[in-house]
């Protein structure tokens, strides 16, 4: 019994290494051309964004419509730093500083707004993201509406996979810790959570800050790979894109977010030529999911890596 209750979870590292190795092989052998790699980059960025939003909205139950705002902070900060220090350490410094900046803004914004409930919080975070966008639109250093161009490009498969897997693993680690469980209990019933000594505001802000941090990382990767940034890239529809992934995959399922991100990447590749149709499809998907299967593809279940262990698992005898 105890063994079943207490998971070690080394499989995820092996799995991550495996995916990295396959990817690296494809890159080296040239199977992964520029077009495919750019799709892959978008996919990885979307995964980071979705997983981090899922921590806030899916696991902690705080409906945020402002994730694009945090992403833009990470993006701009990373761009500004790596344009001045155009080296790999400069890029890494940029990504981390950007993420920290996003986390800091998340803290400042989260502290007062996370007292709000449900749709009020949604609308407040939406307002916050708009304010951030308008600030970037007006700042000299970010070059206003024209945006930043010629950001040095450092994102390769190694960095991309490193950041993507660390985001997934760190967030899933957090969820499977006492602090993560506190967050989930707030989603389940805030009053009951407080009655068992959970400081709801503290944990909501914690989840918000961690989510903002990883959204910042996604922004940094975006800036460095696509080498230009404009405020319009981080509007309301970006936040909605991320929300669609989270909702489709299942509110409260990290593997669901990953699966949904892959699924939507495939769909938007096919609908490349019709951007409006892609949005119409997203819209219909949202409505249909909510009416037919509001828990999303995966519900709150996780696709367990233990499945991969498959037969090896049999040797473990269940004891109590």
């Amino acid at each position: 019994m105890m063994n079943r209750l207490f998971e070690k979870g080394r499989m995820k590292y092996i799995f991550a290494l495996l995916v990295f190795a396959i990817g690296q092989l494809l890159v080296v052998t040239g199977y992964l051309n520029d077009y495919l790699f750019s799709t892959l980059t978008t996919l990885c960025i979307n995964i980071i964004l979705a997983v981090s939003l899922n921590l806030i909205t899916g696991f902690t139950g705080q409906f945020s419509l402002g994730h694009a705002g945090f992403m833009s902070i990470g993006g701009y900060v990373c761009a500004l730093i790596s344009m001045r220090i155009p080296t790999v350490p400069g890029f890494l410094l940029g990504v981390l500083t950007g993420a920290l900046a996003a986390a800091f803004v998340g803290f400042i914004v989260g502290l007062p707004t996370l007292r709000l409930k449900g749709d009020y919080l949604a609308i407040a975070t939406l307002g916050m993201a708009e304010i951030i966008r308008i600030i970037f639109l007006n700042l000299k250093i970010t070059n206003g509406a024209a945006g930043l161009n010629g950001i040095p490009q450092f994102v390769d498969w190694m960095w991309l996979s490193l950041f993507t897997f660390s985001s997934i693993i760190l967030i899933s680690n957090f969820i499977r810790s006492a602090h993560g469980r506190a967050c989930v209990s707030i989603r389940e019933d805030e009053i009951a959570a407080e009655s068992i000594g959970i400081h709801a505001t503290k944990y909501k802000v914690t989840a918000f800050v961690i989510g903002a941090f990883f959204a910042g990382i996604a922004g940094g990767l975006y800036a460095s790979y696509f080498y230009f940034l404009r405020p319009t890239l981080f509007g309301f529809s970006r936040s909605i894109d991320i929300l669609v992934i989270v909702v489709l995959g299942g509110i409260g399922s990290l593997s669901g977010s990953v699966i949904a991100a892959i699924l939507l990447a495939l769909i938007s590749t096919y609908l490349q030529a019709f951007p409006e149709l892609r949005m119409v499809f997203y819209a219909v998907a949202l409505v249909v999911i909510m009416i037919v299967r509001p828990q999303g593809l995966m519900g709150s279940k996780e696709l367990s890596l233990d499945l991969l262990k498959g037969f090896g698992r049999k040797r473990q005898r269940g004891g109590s």
Binding site: M1, M2, R4, L5, F6, G9, L170, N173, F174, S177, A178, H179, G180, R181, A182, V184, S185, E188, D189, I191, A192, A193, E194, S195, I196, G197, I198, H199, A200, T206, I210, S300
Partner: protein, 261 residues
């Protein structure tokens, strides 16, 4: 006398409607006290005031623990829990989509010492503390015979077990004072009898002081040492079950309310 809880002149009104008016009550260490009254008498409001869900308009609530006195009336619910007041809810508020184990384990959160970094990287004392949490939770679940269902979702438990789980969850916070809001509601006589024994047992085992709201008179008369009676937000009687049972005001308040079981 060794007081654990001392409530004086507690009052609360909602939009001009007085829900609780100048209630005085106290609990001595180790006592099991009942709080009864007709529907809408303000019993649950009292609990919500004691646990910080509502802030009192007037009055004081002080908790004595380990030779210290803490005033509760301005504190937040989570602080009050951490000072040693655990509670259950009338309409069961479990974390329905979490497992039985997680319901209890989450309630032990304050004993966790590892910080955010250990949580993110699963390093430091993470593994040891998590193992301890599971062991402690399973021990507690065993008391309520729920250990076999540790990995079931709380919402899939039968009603009676949900009530038990909620008590287990409250105990996981290591309270000195336990507030039970209608623990026997919806239970059949056999289940109620079982619950009665459990309450008696945990009181001794965890050295608890218990305040209990109950509609089921048989339960109150059987296990409570003293009883407070609320009616229209005011305390109308106080005393041993025997005295209360024969108090004309109490009988009048209850007339047509609930038949004595």
């Amino acid at each position: 006398m060794n007081k654990v809880l001392d409530v004086r002149k507690l009052s609360k009104s909602f939009g001009g409607l007085a829900a609780v008016t100048a209630v005085n009550l106290h609990l001595n260490k180790g006592e099991l006290v009942g709080l009864i009254g007709p529907n809408g008498a303000g019993k649950t409001t009292c609990f919500n005031l004691l646990t910080g869900i509502y802030e009192p308009d007037k009055g004081s609530i002080s908790l004595h623990r380990d030779g210290q006195e803490y005033s509760l009336e301005k504190r937040k619910p989570h602080e009050i829990c951490r000072l040693g007041v655990g509670r259950t809810f009338q309409n069961i508020r479990l974390f329905r989509d979490l497992t039985v184990l997680d319901n209890v384990r989450t309630a032990m959160n304050r004993t966790v010492k590892y910080g955010l970094f250990s949580a993110l990287f699963h390093i430091g004392s993470y593994h040891r503390e998590e193992r301890e949490l599971i062991e402690k939770s399973m021990e507690l679940l065993k008391i309520f015979e729920l250990d076999g269902k540790a990995l079931e979702l709380a919402k899939n438990l039968p009603y009676g077990e949900q009530r038990h789980l909620e008590i287990a969850r409250a105990l996981a916070t290591e309270p000195a004072l336990l507030l039970l809001d209608e623990p026997a509601a919806g239970m059949n006589p056999a289940e109620t009898a079982q619950l009665t024994r459990t309450i008696e047992w945990i009181r001794k085992r965890f050295d608890l002081t218990i305040l209990l709201i109950e509609h089921d008179m048989s339960l109150v008369m059987k296990i409570c040492e003293r009883v407070y009676v609320l009616d229209y937000g005011m305390l109308i009687a106080e005393g041993t079950p025997e005295v209360i049972k024969n108090n004309p005001r109490v009988v009048k308040a209850y007339l047509g309310e609930v038949a004595y079981a």
